[in-house]
């Protein structure tokens, strides 16, 4: 066991006191003197030409300070795809046409919320309604309405992804058996509790400050600068506490732009807070996908070849869709080794709100289909599905040709631990009708290598200042959004510098004082920001050791270390100096300058996806009510390999939260639309899991490996855990009642219908 002081311990989070007392400030809590309230006018049509917008009546309403339309913008197309301009397809406000219900058309700033709302009703927009298309399989047909024009879009396909390795066609010929299954994955909403919202304030020096609920302060700064036509350095993005993001707050949105633009026009701070209906209809959602999976295998369960074809419902704009599409194809071959693989994915525009990144980033769709099919293969062969998983599971050092190299990998141990803990062998296939046990597995990236935003900066950076009283200030640009990343950063600094957690302060969420960082997405903060923090802390550690060496003048063969407030000779731990003494001497020796360290991290030579991969296995038990079709979760066990655990309390919390989110994905959540209109845009009608729905028992098992690329050997624990849940639950339901649902979500109605069909087939 490693001898750490704070790493790996169940540490209380550094933002706890604020959060349990209600003192924590979120963007929704920001009120500025003289602040105006902004509101967005949205399209009522899924597809329509804008013939004319008349804002004159709205502007005359007393209390209204400004009204903007696309005429007040620079008409710049933007998105996170700065490096790939052909994918940048959004404008701050609709230009010549609208492409989904809820698309922003105009915005108003007024002295109070009611007046702003009233003004929206006075804006007259003449639309010419166009034929619309809502299903990606319809949208790709010749003659379908064309949602975007432009040389790179044909049949509404904005991006196609293809990868292939091995000799797929030949390999299929050699397989004992081949099976092909089709699946449908439905759209779900991030449903973060803090609505998308911002307060922007333009000052007389020509600088803009925006408080906003975001996962990516740097993206907001960069893209706002681009669409407003001002310098990045003149924009200060402040990210207060964020009430959840899950991928739904990692892009620049129209309301952020409008708050800024309205503030520039009025000279007053402007607040725009989306109401819950707007959050549901006009922010992002997880991609619906039509998935066809063909897999060839041998009688002994060896997987030989796989072909996946995906048509994804991208909604009206690309958003992060091309990456979700890419990663869905990539994670389709996780965590099992497939020597021959072909993937074709198509990102298709439809007249619905844009699909984008959501926790798992294409992974939940991939693992649901992959793991459902693994169980079907096991059923075909009369094998234990866990054995197939073990037989084909990835191992350390696994190479995916042209795409990735896996470093540490505890997959096998995860499966074994989960089986042992749940008495798998005793239960699988042996439980009474209505009760079942099932497994789902996953692997996930520990930070993406993607730089769509075209940042010239390091992916992550940290500055650390050590003060004369041994307090440590850590400046990071990464985004704490509830996942506990600030605490992880503080732990890493505390461990390296040998100070207690309470002496570390994390200064974050402010582009004026913190270094740029690509933000919270792709499960990147522990590994990438963590490495930057470690490097910065080690730079200070080096300085402290130099001073100690000059004070103690030991034999040069000795090395020093710092731990628990002392600097000492590693091989002679009794010989050392108090850290406080060393720090004071160091500061004095440097003419009073505080100690300063800088750290950066950018992945180099790590393949096309990630520097490292997490792995895991999950086993669930359910009871299915044969009369109502309701699925009751009894227990869930997840064994997760996140390398060296940094904060046990944090990892367990992520495992539990991710499962329940996945449970909702599998069983109840569904953003239902009809002709492009969302039918359930409220937290009452959109069915999230509630406390009585969760499993009675949760077990989290840590499988610790050492990841050479991670700080102290750590990997991700935020997103990968979302990937196995739906497949695991589907497999569990199959074990319980013998029906296989491939069309998500797995509602009681579908289970009952399948049970009826099964009975008819069996002639009962």
């Amino acid at each position: 066991m490693s001898n750490y002081s704070v790493i790996g311990k169940p540490i209380q989070r550094i933002d706890g006191y604020e959060k349990v007392t209600g003192a924590a400030k979120f963007t929704t809590d920001i009120r500025l003197s003289g602040m105006l309230w902004g509101k967005m006018l949205r399209s009522p049509h899924p597809h329509a030409k804008i013939l004319n917008i008349d804002t004159s009546k709205a502007k005359k309403l007393p209390g209204v300070k400004a009204v903007i339309t696309s005429a007040d913008t620079l008409h710049i197309k933007y998105s996170n795809w700065r490096r790939y301009p052909h994918l940048m397809d959004e404008t701050p406000l609709a230009e010549d046409k609208v492409r989904y219900i809820g698309e922003p058309v105009a915005a108003v700033a007024a002295i109070d919320e009611d007046i702003a709302e009233e003004a929206l009703g006075l804006i007259e927009v003449d639309y010419e309604v166009l034929p619309a298309v809502f299903d990606p399989l319809e949208a790709i047909k010749d003659g379908a309405p064309q949602i975007h024009e432009g040389p790179t879009v044909k049949n509404n396909i904005s991006e196609a992804r293809h990868f292939e390795f091995g000799d797929v066609d030949e390999a299929f010929k050699k397989c004992d058996r081949v099976r092909e299954d089709t699946f449908y994955l439905h759209p779900v909403s991030h449903a973060f509790l803090e609505p998308t919202n911002s307060v922007a304030s333009w000052d007389l020096n020509g600088r803009l400050t925006i408080w906003t609920s975001t996962q990516t302060p740097y993206f907001i700064q960069t893209l706002l600068a681009m669409v407003l036509g001002i310098k990045e350095g003149n924009i200060r993005v402040i990210k207060p506490h964020v009430g959840g993001g899950f991928g739904g707050k990692m892009e620049l949105f129209s309301d952020q732009y409008c708050a800024a633009r309205l503030s520039m026009l009025t000279g007053k701070p402007v607040k725009i807070e989306l109401d819950r209906e707007e959050v549901f209809i006009a922010t992002r959602r997880r991609h619906p996908m039509y998935y066809t999976l063909k897999t060839g295998y041998m009688k002994d369960g060896t997987l030989v070849a796989k072909e996946a074809k995906v048509y994804t419902d991208g909604g009206a704009y690309n958003a992060m869709g091309p990456t979700s599409l890419y990663l869905s194809g990539f994670f389709q071959i996780f965590p099992y080794t497939i020597p021959n693989y072909r993937y074709d994915g198509f990102h298709i525009y439809t007249n619905k709100n844009p699909s984008s990144a959501m926790r798992g980033f294409g992974g939940p769709q991939a693992e649901f289909t992959c793991d459902s099919q693994i169980d079907m293969i096991a059923d075909d062969l009369g094998m234990d599905p866990a054995e197939i998983r073990l037989k084909n599971g990835m191992k350390p050092g696994h190479v995916i040709p042209g795409l990735a190299k896996v470093g540490s990998c505890g997959f096998e141990e995860c499966v074994k631990k989960a089986m042992e803990s749940t008495k798998w062998k005793e239960k699988k296939g042996k439980l009474p009708m209505g009760r079942g046990i099932g497994m789902g597995c996953y692997g996930f990236m520990s930070g993406g290598v993607f730089n769509w935003i075209d940042s010239p900066y390091a992916y992550s950076a940290a500055y650390i200042r050590m003060n004369v009283d041994c307090t440590v200030d850590v400046y990071i640009g990464s985004a704490e959004i509830g996942q506990g990343s600030d605490t992880v950063a503080a732990q890493i600094a505390a461990e390296v510098l040998g100070v207690p957690m309470e002496d570390v302060k994390v200064i974050r969420g402010d582009t004026d004082s913190c270094p740029p960082d690509l933000g919270a997405w792709g499960s990147r903060q522990t590994l990438m920001t963590g490495n930057a923090v470690k490097m910065a802390a080690e730079e200070i550690k080096k300085q402290l050791i130099e001073v100690t060496a000059s004070l103690m003048v030991p034999n040069v063969v000795y090395d020093f270390d710092i731990k628990d407030g002392r600097v000492f000779i590693k091989d002679r731990p009794e010989r050392g100096i108090e850290l406080a003494e060393v720090v004071k001497t160091a500061v004095r020796a440097r003419e009073g300058q505080a100690l300063f360290g800088r750290g950066i991290y950018t992945p180099h030579g790590k393949g096309m996806v990630s520097p490292a991969y997490s792995f895991g296995a999950q086993v669930a038990e359910v009871e299915v009510d044969l009369e109502t079709g309701k699925v009751n979760m009894i227990q869930v066990t997840t064994a997760h390999d996140c390398g060296q655990v940094i904060n046990k309390l944090g990892v367990e919390g992520q495992l539990e939260g991710a499962f329940v989110m996945g449970q909702g994905y599998a069983l109840s959540e569904n953003l239902i639309t009809d002709e492009g209109k969302v039918l359930n845009p409220s937290l009452i009608d959109y069915k999230l899991m509630r406390a009585p729905d969760i499993p009675d028992n949760f077990t989290s098992l840590m499988v610790e490996t050492h990841e050479p690329e991670g700080p102290f050997g750590a990997k991700e624990a935020g997103e990968g855990l979302t990937n196995p849940n739906a497949g695991c639950i589907a497999n569990t339901i199959f074990d319980a009642v013998g029906v296989r649902i491939k069309d998500m979500p797995i509602t009681p109605e579908k289970i009952l219908k399948a049970l009826d069909e099964k009975k008819k087939k069996e002639g009962k």
Binding site: P10, Q12, R13, D15, G16, Y17, E18, K19, V20, T21, G22, A23, A24, K25, F26, T28, D29, R31, H190, A191, F192, L193, E194, P195, H241, V242, G243, G244, F246, D275, R276, I481, G482, Q483, G484, L649, G650, E652, G653, E656, G657, A658, F659, V660, M661, S682, L683, I684, L688, M689, R690, A691, P692, I694, D696, F698
Partner: protein, 159 residues
Amino acid sequence: MKKILNVTINGTPYEIAIKPKTTLVEVLRNELNLTGTKRSCNAGGCSSCSVLVDGKVVNSCSVLALQVDGKEVTTIEGIADGAKLHPLQQAFLEHGAYQCGYCTPGMIIAGKALLDENPNPTKQEVKEAIAGNLCRCTGYVRIVDAILATAKKLQEEAK
């Protein structure tokens, strides 16, 4: 036309002039800057805005402020005893029963209402008591644990 609201919030009496349609959550957040009470769905669907009115838990987005005239309201800011955290707050810290923290004030209020009425709840009773409170981060596991642990602690202290 504004109306006068007289209400005691966290032990302090207030006299406030408000529009009649103003909801309690709007008074708390916009008039009194008690922003610990969160607004999320504004339709009674998530209970992020839970407060106690005369000891009973209510969604403050679904109550007109004038309906609490003459009553006592307790918000998350009034739960601790000065700098000393309420045992529920302490338990939420120790169990890691929060992540983003947006539902946390409402959860603690719901937990307090439960324990005030039923000091020794079962796990199922705790789950039912917070059934109206949505949390998108934690999966509720640690929230339930924290409330149960507080009940146990308070029972032991009472002995």
